[in-house]
Symmetry: C2
Subunit: 345 residues, 2 copies
Amino acid sequence: MEMNERKKGILKAVINEYILTAEPIGSRTISKKYDLNVSSATIRNEMADLEDLGYLQQPHTSAGRIPSDKGYRFYVDSLIDVEKIPQSFEEMVRKKYLDRKKEVQDIVQVTSRMLSHLTRYTALVASPSSPEYFFQHLQLVPLEGKKVAVIVVISSGIVQHQTVTLQNRPSRQELEYISRLINDRLQGLPLGKIGNEIFRDLEKDLRDRTIFRELYKSLVEFLSDEGISQEWGKIHLDGATNILEQPEFSDLEKVKVFLKLFEQEEMLKQLLNKIPSQGLKVVIGKEVPLEEIRDCSLVVADYSFQDKTVGKMAILGPTRMNYPKVMATVNFMAEGLSKVLREED
Amino acid sequence: MEMNERKKGILKAVINEYILTAEPIGSRTISKKYDLNVSSATIRNEMADLEDLGYLQQPHTSAGRIPSDKGYRFYVDSLIDVEKIPQSFEEMVRKKYLDRKKEVQDIVQVTSRMLSHLTRYTALVASPSSPEYFFQHLQLVPLEGKKVAVIVVISSGIVQHQTVTLQNRPSRQELEYISRLINDRLQGLPLGKIGNEIFRDLEKDLRDRTIFRELYKSLVEFLSDEGISQEWGKIHLDGATNILEQPEFSDLEKVKVFLKLFEQEEMLKQLLNKIPSQGLKVVIGKEVPLEEIRDCSLVVADYSFQDKTVGKMAILGPTRMNYPKVMATVNFMAEGLSKVLREED
DNA sequence: CTTAGCACTCTAACAACCCGAGTGCTAACA
DNA sequence: TGTTAGCACTCGGGTTGTTAGAGTGCTAAG
């Protein structure tokens, strides 16, 4: 026994209906609502076959069928009608992007908000991160007392700053000298290369090394993983509470697990990282690389900057998710974000 | 009929017990667990009186009593034993503060996290905001193409930056000239005063005004409410999911309302602002100035910087909250935060 | 191969019931 | 006059029994 057109039609009908109602679907429902020109008895036989094939399952005898993970997989791979993004969405999105400050973090945040609003599921957007950042410019600004603002400009116009308290109050000249020294030496270097060798190399030219040491240390520290990539890879989450609208989350225990997860950013980061980048990807149920949410699905897409993939975004929802709509939306938003970043450049 | 010592003792016992168990408390429970040297029948009479006085209420006949808002009020004002913060807490908190980067936003975030962990309720911490910030220093750093990083240092060493894309690529000299001009004029001015008069005043001295205009505009924009006070007044929330552990939130609808609220930062800001600053304040049930959470309580404290109140923190939990513990913790953390900010200075 | 018919299964909803915790009242007692 | 033991009464929550309905699988006929 194998898949034929009628079986496909029935499977598609069952899944569509189940996505809508979240209730097990019986043969009569299908025969009434969908014009398949066969009786409910025939559908019954076909559904039994589909169950044998592993595409459907029964919560218990004498209930309708619900799709299995395998069923969803087949649906997503072979049965889905690609949905078109309505004009109104496109305009709404463009508008939202326009009246926003142009900081990358803001853009990412807006993106996650729109994603969750449009889909009514939970949205995750990782802000751009790239191992290929390089150093552009350092600026040291003396503050009150012994404090100095260390401001670093990285490629693509990313600016980061940090306040450092030194042992002694530095003079303006010292700071200028040190910043010139560092700028001359580091300009254009990839961040990964900025380490201790250069430090020793630079130190030779100095009379007073203590200030330099303190500053350089803080510089290295926050150009390293803890500093930059903390910001730039950060996960923006939105619409966490949308899951509460889903009937599969009427169980408080489940909700708890879910929301607890959302409070652990590190987990989410890993989750996204474990999914290979490749355009639009759907991860269904047991395929999800995280124990706690094995009855959910992810629709993931990556976005790019300067022709390189720099980040990912995802929708997280129940396996019974409106895949056509979500896939279209995620795809659209990923392209949109790439475009906005390009224009920013 | 009025309050006497025995009534107070019984009220206190009932509330303590209710805080522990979240179940209506009967007269027998009290007579067994607390050494009041009277029989359950007497307690029964007293409890009836306490109900007449409005301190207790019955969910239904033939159930125990639970405290009313008025009861909690009396308890908090007159019956509470002040709790001592354990040594281990203090050390833990000190440690947490130490191994942290010294950015204000980080400190605030750590504070909210600790608060929610220590109390097991939801913590809100508003980051410091003050109308009394003044301008210290502007730095313009040219980036790629037509982009310029605008970096502003404000009093107390707060640094903010923003990227601006100009119409034309500016020369380094132009930027230096403009920044010197602005720095000379604005240094020491309160942020509120930086507006259009100064703009026109400055403009006179310029040959090419377009670049100046663009930069000044962006400067004003993000020194205004939208910019600075967006960051500095920002609410850090932690432990939202802690409420799920509370039996009063076994109802999904309630949880929904609550979590939705947490997604609206503006609401939370207003909520805190509506509560007058004055050391440690407890807001109970119907006193809470926000419809949706009328069956919750807030314990609010303010913290200071340079002897001025600059922000607030709060614990939000069910009215059946462990007031002694929460009040002690919030008070302790508010003082702790003030101290850390002072040391930072 | 399809379909009508039918017996069978299982759950969700509802009603009836009981149990226990807790109260208020009364009457006796110190 | 305040305290306490005793007792009848109340009410909610849990358990059990029953039923209606939706859905199935199988059989036999078209």
